[in-house]
């Protein structure tokens, strides 16, 4: 009786599914782990911290095969895919994910990463250690496994993608920690996915620039995961409110930097203070050149860098308020800025609060430099006020239906000069700033004069309209009187 039932069950697919699940549990590492792209929890990681892995740099962990094995329909069957595609739940899901992935489309198949023999339809044989089946590759070995293909210049040439990701990763904070045996750090699959790898240019990819801040935040906003490293977890919240976050995530401006733009992706590492100018200068090229002309750029490590005035993740739109504290700072101890009479010192903690990222945090209120700073600020404020007054007048004229194109051209000129003047502040040279603010004021005053002329013209039009309407009204009254006279004449006759 039992034998008959067993025979019946064996004919049904469900039996195969059950058998697969049992084997999956037995196989070291288990398939289930492969379905999760997230790193292990700290608790789990704490128990699994491995000794430094020689495998990360060892040639032993070269790819398991030298070419696609499973997906070549004309040559060899892909029985891994065939079986998994018919399975319910996540076991089947990985097949469809792989099929839609960049690897699936390029013919990089299951056995290339997991080993095994895709040519046999006997599951036990296909997934046997003798066939080279390794199940889910250990986390510590994954960078080298991926790098086995991705460092291969010959193989990558056709896809026109770089081949230096592995050495970059090995130099990154993540790679160094992994080499030290810390498997909680991000590995290739945590960012790119495992079975569902998509091109970075695909908007659906987790590594697409629009998604990168959320991708990094999956780990870096996790307080439990970051606690052992002493890293803050509020970077995403801060970044989202910054000019860069608003541009990239709010306005979908692809030019705005994500985390990877400053920290690197495969070579992820926080830029050091002396690297910051070059990192920001990748995009802010003109500003970097101006900064390099300044006195700040000449005083070495103690010099203010981009972050000193603008912050890091919390960069907001700068304004003239960034020059000085609302209330002058007094009684600052000399030791705040000077090691001795001649040496400056720079401590990041002093600029942590946006309120303290001001010139007078370093420069003494009675110093000659301070007079220059104040003059610079005043020049910019005056130019901005002239611009605002012109803009208000132009908007007023436009609201009254006046054509303001010519005034708007001048206003744009003024705006350009103000933007340039703000950039030139990085040179710390007052005369260069005032040259541009003078230009801005001159253009703004001309624009305002034009707008005022248009407003005066509009007033004239309205007054003239009243006169014309008056004349028309007199004519109408005259015609009505004539009509009345005609009617009387008609009645009389």
């Amino acid at each position: 009786m039992f034998a008959r039932v067993l025979e019946k069950l064996m004919k049904q697919r469900v039996t195969w599914i059950a058998a697969f699940v049992v084997i999956a549990i037995i196989v070291p590492g288990g398939f289930a782990k492969a379905f999760s792209a997230a790193p292990p929890s700290p608790e789990q990681g704490a128990t699994e911290v491995m000794p430094p892995s020689p495998g990360l740099t060892s040639p032993d962990l070269a790819p398991l095969s030298q070419g696609p094995l499973a997906r070549s329909p004309d040559e060899s069957p892909n029985n891994c895919f065939k079986c998994h595609a018919n399975l319910p739940g996540p076991h089947g899901g990985i097949a469809s994910k792989w099929d839609a992935s960049v690897h699936g489309r390029a013919g990089i198949a299951c056995a290339d990463c997991h080993g095994g023999n895709p040519e046999t339809d006997e599951m036990i044989l296909a997934m046997s250690p003798e066939a080279g089946f390794i199940g889910v590759p250990p986390r510590r070995d994954i960078p080298a496994l991926c790098g086995g293909c991705h460092s291969d210049v010959e193989r990558m040439r056709q896809f026109n993608i770089p081949t230096d990701q592995l050495p970059k990763y090995q130099e990154s904070v993540h790679g160094v920690k992994l080499a030290q045996g810390d498997i909680r750090v991000a590995i290739c699959t945590d960012c790119h996915g495992s079975h569902d790898v998509l091109k970075a240019s695909d908007p659906n990819a987790a590594v697409s620039p629009y998604n990168v801040p959320y991708l990094c935040a999956k780990c870096h906003s996790d307080e439990a995961l970051m606690e052992p490293y002493g890293l803050p977890t509020d970077q995403l919240d801060i970044y989202e409110k910054s000019v860069h976050g608003e541009a990239l995530l709010g306005r979908k401006d692809i030019r705005a930097p994500s985390c990877a733009s400053c920290h690197g992706s495969h070579a992820a590492k926080p830029p050091t203070s002396d690297e910051v100018v070059n990192v920001c200068g990748k995009c802010h090229t003109a500003t970097q050149k101006l900064y390099e002309e300044s006195l700040h750029a000449r005083i070495g490590d103690a010099a203010p860098k981009c972050w000193t005035c603008h912050g890091t993740h919390d960069i907001i739109k700068p304004s003239e308020d960034n020059f000085l504290h609302p209330e002058p700072l007094v009684d600052q101890p000399c030791g705040e800025c000077h090691v001795d009479d001649t040496t400056f010192r720079m401590e990041a903690a002093r600029f942590e609060s946006p309120e303290d990222r001001r010139c007078d945090t370093c420069h003494h209120p009675t110093s000659w430099v301070m007079t220059q700073i104040k003059a610079m600020k005043n020049a910019l404020v005056e130019a901005q006020e002239a611009y605002q007054a012109a803009e208000d007048a132009i908007q007023d004229a436009a609201a009254r239906g006046m054509i303001v194109n010519d005034a708007e051209v001048l206003l744009t000129e003024a705006h350009t000069s103000i933007i340039r003047a703000r950039a030139v502040v990085h040179t710390t040279k007052l005369t260069r700033v005032t040259e541009l603010t003078d230009d801005a004021k001159e253009a703004a005053i001309k624009a305002r004069d034009l707008a005022d002329t248009k407003l005066a013209d509009n007033l004239f039009r309205r007054r003239a309209m009243v006169v014309v309407i008056g004349i028309i009204a007199i004519n109408i009254v005259g015609l009505i009187a004539l009509k009345y006279q005609l009617n009387r004449h008609s009645e009389g006759s």
């Binding site: 239906g401 194109n405 039009r461 309209m465 028309i472 015609l479 009505i480 009509k483």
Partner: protein
Amino acid sequence: MNDQVIDRPTSLAQRVIDWMDERYELRSLLDAMLHVYVPREAKTFYLGGITLFLFFMQASSGILLTLYYQPTPDTAYNSVLFITSDVSFGWLIRSVHAWGANLMIVACVLHLLRVFFQGAYKRPREITWVLGVFLLFITLGFGFTGYLLPWDQRAFWATTVGTESAGAVPVIGDFLLNFIRGGATVSDVTLTRFFGIHTLVLPVSLAAVLLVHIVLIHQHGLANPKKPAGQVKPDEEPGIPFFPHYILDEAIAWYIVLAVLVILASLFPAGLEAKANPLETPAHIKPEWYFLSLYQFLKLVPRTVGVLTPVAAAPLLILLPFLDRNPEVAPAKRPRMIAAGVLLLLAITILTVWGHFS
């Protein structure tokens, strides 16, 4: 006493008229045109006359605009800018032309509705109605072609969207679209042909049709809105003299419209957006208000249906006097036609408002 006849001196104007009359018999012509009577029952609201006045305003302001306007993509925008900003009272001429166009369409439609609801299109005035509907179409054509001429963003994209619907006409859609635009897209060729149509083809067509329309009105006189033409006896009502009484009323109406035009042009002068840029599509493109109902209708129904419905409706409107065989003119005696008209008017109004806020 001296019984010698003394020749009284006559004025120069009188002598000129005498001179002309002697040769061309002008007096009889003027008598025939002016000394007619308007039925006391007629309620025209002076809408036909107002439309005529607005046409004169459009013609005169349009001629002044062509003195400066240059119909090429490189120069059109700047020439309109020059007219509006630098030419003395150029802003006024352009604003009067722009507002006049809108008011002319309003007056024309109201005139059509007045004639419809009073049943004035019925025998013997069928052809007058047909020509009137053609005049409305020509007026809308003026609006459509004139809208492109400033060559700013709104003009360019509204024309792009407007002409696009021509492509949905079955069989001849592609040909029609190419014919209107002079190519696959709105371009310099479109601007040139729209200018030609706007300043030459349509004015001549309108003037010709208008002349016949007015002659026919003169021939039939104004309709009595209470009785069918056959039931009005010639001497039943003395009527109001067309000249000078009715003309005087018309003049007052024209003055009021002129005042409205001056107020609108002064308080809300015609504006100008950025120069047309075929590579930069604005966020919200909508046609002028008089095409909004059609625009909204096109959005609600399949494209072909949306285009073919007005194409099929136009002949019905033109041939209305021949389709509506009921001789009665009083609204109470033709409830179905009045209901159909009200429903259509309601639908157009709702679609226009909907289109505006969509």
